[in-house]
């Protein structure tokens, strides 16, 4: 009853013990900092990534409002905004569409918005403010560009606003402008003032315009709730509570961007964290282990005087906790900074271009601190238990008689140092195999990563974009939303002949492009119909089925491309000669709505009818959905697919209604000697046209270098860390081993072995260790590295497998040096009096 209040003395003993071993403290603190740093940076990066994804999503949607009420009247707005769960709201009024000629193919909506809406729609005015007068307007920079107007206030612009019943042409003054990403949002926006609305469209009845589908003068009220949980339910509740009955909309950015949906994505993170914790654990455990083993006499004395096992355990625990607390803030801070710095690099890995967003959630720090604490707690636990179990008689034992004799090997050759060393090695099979495994593992991992990184090949990467040395593309064709002005036929025959005539140009391979609205046939229906019946109904699919068509991209390829076909073939076999005959088509897989799902409607042997080409073709082979990537527009239509024909099929006779195909690109293969001059000539030829863009290998290479650089940093960094951990563990094991055997050494010395002989024996042991490790790594290790690295490199677009021998070659000398130095220094550390004896004089 009532515990003894002996905490003070245990704390005092712990603190004093800390004071006498600054080196050990430093080591533990470093380990803690390292572990915390790594965990924090991982957490930071993942949270940042998450936030970036969210932000990007929202920018696509156009707003970060949680939800909205569509087509509400001013009275309804008044009622709705009073609801307690509506924290913030904004109102947008749809005024009409811009009918200016420049916007024929890229719609721009005209709206009136309030300040809240602007804020939540990522509209950050570079200059100016929202329009107030009836002739003021706010436009985005790309709209200004389309008009050819400067980005400045006060610029005049003529806008043709279609309010359904008529088109109002009026001159406006730019009162403000903002930066917008043309490709991210679905439609462009222009903002007019309330004054203009009152003047021009206030008479229009919203109910009528809703019924007619023009939605002019209808208002949409977007709201923010307390959080993004169950937005739909919240919206419905507001409607129910207020009695208003209007359609609602949910910001799908919130529902689709949660990480928790795909738990599988978590696995690599968990694995990495586990590895970090494991290494941290091993490091700290070893340090404490050595510390306890060195100070056995000290703990023995404490126990003899009356320190219970529990108190001894607490001493170790307190020490570990203090060191943890010291190292924690540094680890957290450094980890956060590194995580922040690395985030942009992580962003480049994702398929869509993402803006980096940063999270400073306290959970990063709390989580990292907890994981780090767990590591420290576990690591100090076993050494604590060891210290607790020390027999008090150790205090009085000096060199001591060997209390447990192991099996004494009596051999006639015994006494020769290297034989002793060899036998010593196998004394504890378990320890030996453990050490060999961990060391070999580190080396193998290191070499795999090293090899893969070393296999990064720019050229291979380039070949996905570029098959020859230079490519001239017609940009006009590339984009679908909003078009650039220009001539899709710029890459004409005349132009190609000019290119061919350039000195050094070996060949010009062209690709022709046709956007085909293709009728669905039974084969396509057979795949799509069942899909449409699954819940929830996919609106796009439904509309396609209603229209009974899919959108295909047809490509006519010059013979120069034929070489690249085979590698993308999944089904069937490519025969260039047969293909050239013009009766065949190569079909790529279709991209489905769900990510990473591809199906092919057709199989080799099927006959496809292309009405717009006026011919039927037999499917020769089915290819990857992104086959001949370099030849395509690099965009894919959902539920549609790419189809490849010989160029002649597209440039030849076509039905009358069909527009001639557009020459998409011309790839030049240049004589290496004339590379520079030819490039120059081609560039100057293309310079005259706006639509044509020239890119050479060099240009791509530059783009790529940065990308590869990132890979290399991370890859080499990771492999370095792994190697370091392996080596550190090895060092720890050696040092521990030496210290543990000090009694044995003393005994050996006492029966006549000189210090020199002892040192020699230890060095032999180290060398044998190295030899064994080398044996394993050079056989099994090489095999593993070869097979694993090869499979990884083979599957990635930009690696060419190159076996790297460097790691294996390095192993022997590096390990040998380490073994030698560590063995000797730990032995020296032993011979020098231990901590205890150093503090004692005159005995």
């Amino acid at each position: 009853m009532i515990a003894n209040n002996n905490r003070k003395i245990v704390t005092r003993l712990s603190l004093r013990s800390l004071r006498v071993s600054p080196l050990r403290n430093l080591a533990v603190i470093s380990a803690v900092v390292l572990t915390t740093l790594l965990i924090t940076s991982i957490f930071t990066m993942s949270l940042n990534l998450n936030k970036s994804m969210e932000l990007t999503m929202m920018k696509s949607v156009g707003t970060d409002f949680h939800g909205s009420f569509k087509r509400v009247s001013p009275e309804q707005i008044e009622i709705l905004q009073q609801h307690p769960s509506v924290k913030e709201y904004g109102v947008m009024l749809h005024a009409g569409l811009l009918r200016n000629e420049v916007f024929r193919d890229s719609p721009v909506e005209v709206k009136r918005i309030d300040e809240a809406s602007a804020r939540h729609s990522f509209i950050h005015l570079i200059e100016g403010g929202l329009p107030e007068a009836g002739n003021e307007v706010v436009l985005s920079t790309w709209v200004l560009d389309k008009f050819g107007i400067q980005h400045a206030l006060g610029e005049r612009v003529q806008l043709d606003i279609d309010i359904t019943e008529r088109v109002l042409k009026q001159e406006f003054v730019v009162s403000g402008y903002y930066e917008a990403d043309k490709n991210l949002a679905i439609a462009g926006l222009a903002f007019v003032s309330d004054a203009w609305v009152q003047q021009n469209i206030s008479g229009i009845d919203p109910a009528e315009s809703e019924a007619s589908g023009s939605y002019v003068n209808t208002q949409e009220m977007s709201v923010m709730f307390k959080n993004a949980v169950d937005i739909e339910k919240k919206l419905d509740k507001v409607l129910a509570d207020t009695g208003v009955n209007r359609p609602t909309g949910v910001n799908w950015a919130y529902t689709t961007s949660s990480l928790s949906d795909n738990l599988i994505e978590f696995v690599p993170y968990v694995a990495v964290i586990f590895i970090i914790m494991l290494s941290g654990y091993l490091l700290i455990y070893n340090i404490f282990y050595i510390s306890v083993v060195r100070d056995v006499k000290f703990y023995g004395l404490l126990k003899a005087i009356g320190t219970t096992p529990r108190q001894l355990k607490r001493m170790i625990r307190i020490q570990s906790q203090i060191l943890y607390l010291i190292g924690l803030p540094f680890g957290l801070a450094a980890g956060y900074v590194i995580g922040r710095l690395l985030t942009p690099m992580m962003n480049t890995f994702s398929s869509e271009p993402m803006e980096a967003a940063y999270s400073a959630s306290p959970w990063i720090f709390i989580g990292a601190a907890l994981f780090a604490y767990l590591t420290v707690w576990l690591a100090a636990g076993k050494p604590g238990r060891m210290a607790a179990r020390i027999a008090p008689v150790e205090a009085v034992r000096y060199t001591g008689v060997q209390t447990t004799r192991r099996r004494n090997k009596r051999s006639k050759r015994g006494g020769r140092l290297h034989v002793m060393a060899f036998t010593n090695l196998f004394r504890s099979k378990k320890k030996l195999s453990l050490m060999l495994t961990s060391l070999s593992l580190s080396i193998v991992l290191f070499s795999i990563i090293f090899t893969v990184i070393g296999s990064l090949d720019v050229n291979k990467y380039l070949s996905t974009f570029l098959s020859g040395d230079m490519v001239i593309r017609n940009e006009k064709i590339e984009t679908h939303e909003g078009e650039r002005p220009g001539d899709p036929y710029k890459l004409s025959e005349a132009f190609s002949s000019d290119l061919e005539r350039i000195d050094g140009v070996k060949s010009v391979e062209k690709v022709y492009y046709y956007y085909d609205i293709h009728d669905m046939d039974e084969k396509i229906r057979a795949v799509l119909q069942p899909l449409s019946e699954t819940e929830p109904p996919q609106p796009y699919l439904t509309s396609l089925l209603e229209r009974n068509s899919v959108y295909l991209q047809l490509y006519g390829i010059d013979p120069g491309w034929y070489d690249l076909v085979q590698k993308d073939v999944i089904e069937g076999h490519f025969d260039p000669q047969k293909f050239a005959s013009g009766d065949y088509v190569l079909v790529a897989q279709s991209l489905m709505w769900e990510e990473d799902t591809y199906t092919s409607y057709y199989h080799p042997g099927d006959i496809m009818e292309f009405k717009n080409l006026g011919k039927s073709y037999e499917v020769m082979a089915v290819m990857n959905y992104d086959a001949l990537y370099a030849a395509t527009t690099q965009s894919f239509s959902t539920y549609g697919f790419n189809a490849f024909f010989p160029s002649s099929e597209l440039t030849g006779e076509l039905p009358a209604e069909t527009n001639p195909p557009w020459p998409l690109s011309a790839t030049l293969h240049i004589d290496p000697d004339k590379l520079d001059s030819a490039t120059q000539a081609a560039k100057s030829l293309a310079a005259s046209s706006d639509e044509l863009v020239v890119k050479s290998r060099e240009d791509y290479r530059e783009e790529l270098d940065g990308f590869i650089g990132v890979f290399q940093i991370i890859g080499y960094g990771l492999s370095f860390v792994i190697a370091l951990i392996g080596v550190l563990n090895y060092i720890n094991t050696v040092v521990t081993g030496v210290i543990m055997r000090r009694n044995e050494f003393a005994l050996l010395e006492s029966i006549g072995m000189t210090k020199r002989q002892l040192k020699k024996m230890l060095v032999y042991e180290g060398i044998y260790n190295v030899l064994l490790t080398t044996a394993i790594t050079s056989t099994l290790g090489v095999f593993l590295t070869y097979s694993i690295a090869k499979s990884i490199a083979g599957n990635t677009a930009f690696t060419v497998f190159r076996m790297s021998w460097l790691p294996f070659v390095l192993v022997v000398p590096v390990l040998a040096i380490i073994a030698y130095t560590v063995t000797l220094s730990s032995y020296r550390m032993l011979s020098k009096a231990t901590l205890i004896e150093r503090l004692r004089q005159g005995e």
Binding site: M1, I2, A3, N4, N5, N6, T308, R310
Partner: protein
Amino acid sequence: MINSTVPHPRRLRYLFSAVFLLLLIGYSGTILYLEGFSPALLQLTLLFLIAVLGTGALYNRVLQRQLTGFMDTVEEMVDRAIHGREQLTLFDETRLSSLEHKLLRYIEMGKANEHNLAAEKNMIKELISDISHQTKTPLASVLLYSQLLAETPDLSPDTRQLVEQIGIQSEKLDWLITSLIKLSRLETGMIHLQSEVRPVAATITSALSHLYTRAGNKNIIINIDCDPLTSARHDYKWTSEALFNLLENAVKYTEPGGSIRITAEGNEMFTRIEVADTGIGIPEDELEHIFRRFYRGHNAREVEGIGIGLFLAQKIISIQGGYITAASQPGQGSRLTLYLPQL
């Protein structure tokens, strides 16, 4: 439990209770005010208050119980230690165990002291025995030789006087040593008195028997008034000696021609034996001192005596559970009364 560095516990309790109540009421009041006095909220708040206060009170009770329980355990531990029963705790890492160990150590040390004292006492007893043994022989020799010397013929009157003196003083010495040894034996409990209920008449007679001659020499009349059935619980031999001392004093301090009257009477609880003389008496201010060791009254200076007699007598009687009183009129006589227990 009241330590000067710790504030009064009860006051502390009141303080905390007050703060606690204040916090509860303050919070509830604020909440009610902010959110409006809706009945649901009111009910909830009331329920909450009751629940919290109830839990608090319960907790308090539990703590109190624990405290008393702890004190009970401590008491039991002490009892066990005092009566040598089995230990309550055995090397636990608790304050109770630490305390118990301390207690037991302390008791053990006390017992050891007792043990040592007992040993010392024994030593003293043996010393006394040794003294008495060792002095007997030389003293006997001295007495013998002085007697022999006294019997030598042709001694000059001066020498004879000197020799007489030697004899007298030797006897005195002898008696002194004997009395002292008796005394120490009594004091160290070496002597075991065998008390039994028997008639006091024999005891009185035995005490007198040694004095008849001397009384006769001084023409002192001795009267005895004793019912043969009067008895008391006493050790025959030793009580006789005590009586003897009283009687000897009476004889010593009464002039020739005087009388001594001995009366014995049994009462409810005690039996009285009174020795009344017509001697020189004891002054009032000395009465309380006469039983002291080596005390000699002023008047008694001229008479022989050492002053141990009464002391010894009192010792003997009090060991038996009785006591002696003295009354006196200077010049008229003294009356010493012995009280012995009846049963």
